[in-house]
């Protein structure tokens, strides 16, 4: 449904509700506000889209913020080259359906240009993305990058502003963040600097899934239970594929799994799951004893402050 073809229908529920809007209404409204502020205050914003669930919600919110107009920014994927085919197909289909511009910034290009060193076959390129991202921001002169990161994902992200300042080297300095008062988001920067904007800052994993259910947001199929050949490595279930092969000592099993996050395929773990529908996923997430990234991201296990260290370098 677009804003132009609807009849004048009073929303009885909203009018009748004595307590006003519920928490999803408030989170949605705030996220739309952030998108509009960034679009208005930045010279050249860009929306980061990986094909994952959080960025799928960002696209959905961008529709709500800017239709019937076009998005006031292009959509950019920082591509490690280690993709789940389902996520890539979803990315292309979704952007084509919306008729918006897609930029793909490839880690492989950064490797070919000698900007970063290829960690080798089967090794995660997650950390290299920061260089590719910063190069792409510089190349296109983007001064605001809108991302789907949430504060509940990690203790370093829990500290970050909704509009988070990056210096001319792309660095985040957690000890010198701009005060962020009320909803007075302040996105102005000097040439070469930029801000990261996180409209989903206050959303939890459960909020995300409830919103997906409420809005009928489409997702790549790998978010739902399917049978897949996996190996258990460092306590994580890694999907076998083009970039992950079992070592001699590893036992391959084919079992019902789904992904809680979608990232570099070499370091994104699956979880054992029978949840085939959004409602089943919500029930599973609500009772999970492991956090989203704890269950699924090998890259956060290097050290106690792995995310903080990556973020200082310019990571999402």
């Amino acid at each position: 449904m677009t804003a132009t073809d609807t009849a004048l229908v009073p929303d009885a529920d909203l009018l009748a509700s004595p307590r006003g809007a519920d928490h999803l209404d408030l989170l949605e409204s705030h996220a739309i506000f952030v998108l509009r502020e960034v679009a208005a205050e930045s010279e050249r914003p860009v929306l980061l889209f990986s094909g994952g669930k959080d960025s799928a919600i960002l696209l959905h919110l961008a529709l709500k913020a800017f239709r019937p107009g076009r998005f006031p920014f292009p959509v950019m994927h920082v591509d490690t080259g280690h993709n789940f085919p389902e996520a890539l197909a979803f990315r292309d289909a979704r952007v084509a359906e919306l008729g918006e511009e897609l930029i793909v910034a490839r880690v492989q290009d950064s490797i070919d240009r000698g900007r970063v060193v290829d960690p080798g076959p089967g090794q995660s390129r997650n950390r290299l993305q920061a260089v590719t991202l910063l190069d792409a921001l510089a190349e296109h002169r983007f001064d605001a990058a809108i991302g789907g990161a949430r504060r509940d994902e990690d203790k370093a992200r829990a500290k970050e502003r909704v509009l988070s300042f990056r210096d001319a080297f792309g660095q985040w300095d957690p000890k010198r963040q701009r005060p962020e008062l009320w909803r007075l988001y302040q996105g102005r920067v000097l040439p070469g600097e930029h801000v990261r904007a996180f409209p989903l800052s206050d959303w939890t994993e459960l909020d995300v899934w409830r919103y997906i259910e409420r809005e009928g947001v489409e997702l790549p199929s790998i978010y739902f239970a399917h049978r897949r050949a996996v190996v258990e490595r460092d306590g994580m279930l890694l999907a076998l594929g083009e970039w992950v092969a079992p070592t001699e000592s590893e036992r391959v099993e084919t079992t019902s799994v789904r992904f809680r996050t979608v990232g570099d395929a070499t370091c994104t773990g699956a979880v054992r799951s029978e949840a085939g529908t959004v409602a089943e996923v919500i029930a599973e997430v609500a009772s999970a004893r492991t956090s989203e990234r704890g269950a699924t991201r090998a890259d956060d296990r290097f050290s106690e402050t792995a995310m903080e260290d990556r973020k200082r370098e310019g990571y999402f």
């Binding site: 909203l14 509009r36 500290k159 005060p179 102005r188």
Partner: protein, 441 residues
């Protein structure tokens, strides 16, 4: 008290009807804010197993024998190494009917700007006071800033009761001091709970160590507090005077609609409005979201509106109902929390961001400084870092403002450094709303 749900348990109503309470944990350094938040999350089972393991491992690595719950929110390397909170950590908790957004604020004076960041969006402040030390200047500063920011509900944790053997005297002393401070600041509700964050008494589980106390636990007080208080500063307004600061102009063919968040009161089709600062008048013809048209949009909703007349409306303009409109002025008197590296003084030039409008501004006069100990305004020529005062400014374009005590959105603005874009001050239109005599705290 509602039963505590496991982490983010689904509500009885499938996630609908859950309300939202934002609160900020404030108070002086080392009084135990982070430990209390850690305890609250731990005892309500909001922490995942891997998060607990990580906190436990970090505690061991730093030679702490028991699990140090402050590490739940102190996530930066420097914070853990120094054992302090540097910047606000946001954490989330859920019961079947309420989502909590928790801002764990730093206590040090030098990080007051970060504390104000956390408190500026809060419906409620959870004040942590070490009963062995009483109400310190920094606690007073925090409560004062929270009150100036419009926080009208306090839950006070009189913490470290285990260190005074749960004697009623120290608790009573804190309670009396806090009550006087709250009264002077015009704070509507204030509950003081004797707790031990370290051992968990009266945080989530009621304790029988304080037989003289029959009030709620910290969690019960948080669950009972009204949500959505943010938009109802000191219980004022939430009436009819709608405001829509225009963020963005949406075009559809020749039609233009103006997008933003509704504030002040519901905005309805048929409302007579004026566009400020120009003062041009029109009538709201359409209120809508992407999902369809509405007869009325409540406070807090992102919408776009069309007007009957084809008049000039841009980002930065304010659409307001014609009854009880805001004041349009270039001369502002405001209560200012100053965070700049250099003192604020007359003649200095800054950029103002007010609602969605940006304008140049000059300081005419620093009128007074607020002494946070006796809550009196004292004459001064400048404000130093982390001081609060009353300042007169003039702006390069007129702004449509309300007093902060009646509207947090149209009554607030920030000062920005024109050279570096750093945010230097939180400003509230009007003088500090102090009640009673100075020194009453």
């Amino acid at each position: 008290m509602a039963p505590v749900a496991p982490p983010g348990a689904p509500s009885t109503t499938d996630g609908t009807g859950i309300d939202l309470l934002r609160f900020a944990a404030i108070g002086s350094v080392d009084d135990g804010k982070s430990t209390l938040i850690g305890r609250l999350l731990f005892d309500t089972r909001q922490l995942a197993d891997d998060q607990l393991e990580a906190v436990s491992a970090a505690s061991k690595r730093r030679g702490v024998s028991e699990i140090d719950l402050s590490f739940v929110t102190d996530g930066l390397r420097a914070e853990r190494d120094q054992g302090i909170t540097i910047d606000v950590a946001y954490r989330y908790a859920a019961t079947p009917t309420r989502k909590f957004i928790i801002a764990d604020c730093p206590g040090h004076v030098q990080y007051t700007a970060n504390m104000a960041t956390g408190a500026s969006t809060a419906d409620l402040a959870l004040v942590v006071v070490d009963v062995t030390k009483g109400l310190r200047e920094q606690t007073r500063r925090h409560v004062c800033i929270a009150a100036l920011l419009g926080v009208d509900q306090l839950v006070v944790a009189a913490n470290k009761m285990d260190l005074v053997d749960w004697e009623p005297g120290p608790y009573e002393a804190v309670r009396t001091e806090v009550a006087a401070l709250a009264a002077r600041l015009g704070i509507g509700s204030c509950t003081v709970v004797p707790v031990s964050a370290l051992h968990g008494d009266n945080v989530v589980a009621p304790s029988d160590l304080a037989p003289y106390y029959d009030g709620p636990t910290v969690l019960a007080a948080l669950e009972a507090a009204p949500a959505g208080a943010w938009s109802a500063v000191h219980g004022h307004h939430v009436g009819t005077a709608a405001r829509l600061p225009v963020q963005w102009v949406l075009r559809n063919g020749s039609a233009r609609s103006y997008a933003g968040i509704v504030d002040g009161g519901p905005l309805r089709v048929g409302d007579k409005v004026m566009v400020l600062p120009s003062g041009r008048r029109s009538t709201v013809s359409i209120v809508r979201t992407y999902d369809g048209s509405l007869e009325s949009a409540p406070v807090g909703m992102s919408v776009s509106v069309e007007l009957d007349d084809d008049i000039d409306v841009d980002r930065g303009d304010l659409i307001a109902t014609t009854d009880d409109p805001p004041m349009v002025t270039s001369d502002l008197e405001a209560t200012v929390c100053w965070f700049g590296p250099h003192p604020l003084s007359a003649g200095a030039r800054y950029r103002v961001k007010h609602t969605t409008r940006v304008a140049p501004a000059r300081v005419i006069e620093v009128v007074a400084r607020l002494d946070v100990n006796d809550l009196a305004l004292v004459g001064t020529a400048e404000l130093a870092d982390n001081e609060i005062g009353v300042v007169r400014l003039t702006t390069g374009t007129p702004l449509a403002v309300d007093p902060y005590t009646t509207n947090r959105v149209t009554g607030s603005f920030v000062l920005v450094d024109e050279a570096t874009n750093a945010t230097l001050a939180a400003c509230m239109v009007g003088r500090p709303p102090l009640a009673g005599e100075p020194g009453g705290g």
